[in-house]
Symmetry: C3
Subunit: 142 residues, 3 copies
């Protein structure tokens, strides 16, 4: 059994959905030694999240942002937690809807993703800054 | 430590929510040897997803489909990614809301699910066809 | 490789979102022996769920409840599964939106959470009662 664990910081990005597969995977040459295993990507924040979706069309990323802005609105009259700005509480809700982690199977030293699957950083704050990820991989090396 | 990993194809199903616990578990007799471990079920697609919910009433499955159709609508004026049909962009969003994987604890050779929990394939496309799953289980065999 | 697995019951709570990090972690002194690993928290129910979000302001918990009540409404005309009361079908949908499990990285015997991250029990029923969790941790002890 091999374990790999490292914290990385993603480049700061504007509010929206961003494809980050390459930026993450270039930090993980070690998974080539794993025959069968798992990679977990965990975001250590409560107003940004991770999801897996289409890696081809940039329009899909824009449509995700439009959908989440329409379905989790700013300035809802029932929000009590408004001290950190109108983008804050919606950011917390969006983060929980999409989730703080992804877990991806590793097969023969590579992620076993479908052809069209890419990793999205979902930045829900207007000025979220750089985001920290904890990357953990484990598996069989035989 | 034992690792099991296999790709399977689910029978094609119409748009909607479908209970697939039995179809998946019959592919995994090997988990009977795991005393304590995990099973991950990962869907290699971006317009279908997996969730865990009530395994008894078929009406729950229908109500899930109604809810997701009402809350992630087709033909929203802000969609840019419309080339693949009106069901495509909503399918991507629904897939990320529900997520591409489930991870289920294994105890004494069996899934440690609650009495009412069953695995749903969430087919968000009108004609999604057969869907590929990567099944990975690992655990202690002592 | 060390494996820890135990079922616990959370104290019954009213409908809403509740911070339960301390109640869960006091059941897991054993993870101090794990240098690098994972903790999975799995809820064995279909009308309550788990999420990770802000651990500081109680108002965030209230705003989550308000948002989910507004976006997954009771008594929708399209619900077929109404036998168990108006809070039942919304509870199933909310549970799948937030998900039945969390997986948290362990580093040097502690959860590698961000400063503001806490574990929420999301109780979607009016009278859900005590909820059972299966806790499973595994990792390298060297």
């Amino acid at each position: 059994m091999k374990w790999i664990q490292k914290q990385i910081s993603l480049t700061a990005r504007p509010r929206g959905f961003h494809l980050v597969t390459r930026e993450i995977m270039q930090e993980l040459p070690e998974i080539q030694a794993i025959r069968c295993g798992m990679l977990q990507i965990f975001i250590q924040h409560t107003s940004a999240s991770l999801t897996l979706n289409e890696n081809a069309s940039p329009e899909v990323l824009d449509d995700f942002e439009s959908h989440f802005n329409a379905s989790v609105r700013e300035n809802e009259p029932y929000y009590l937690h408004t001290l950190e700005g109108p983008d804050d509480m919606p950011a917390h809700i969006k983060a929980s809807l999409l989730g703080p982690s992804l877990q991806l199977p590793i097969q023969s030293g590579r992620l076993a993703l479908g052809t069209w699957q890419g990793i999205y950083l979902c930045e829900h704050r207007n000025h979220g800054g750089s985001r920290k990820l904890m990357l953990t991989a484990w598996g069989d090396t035989n």
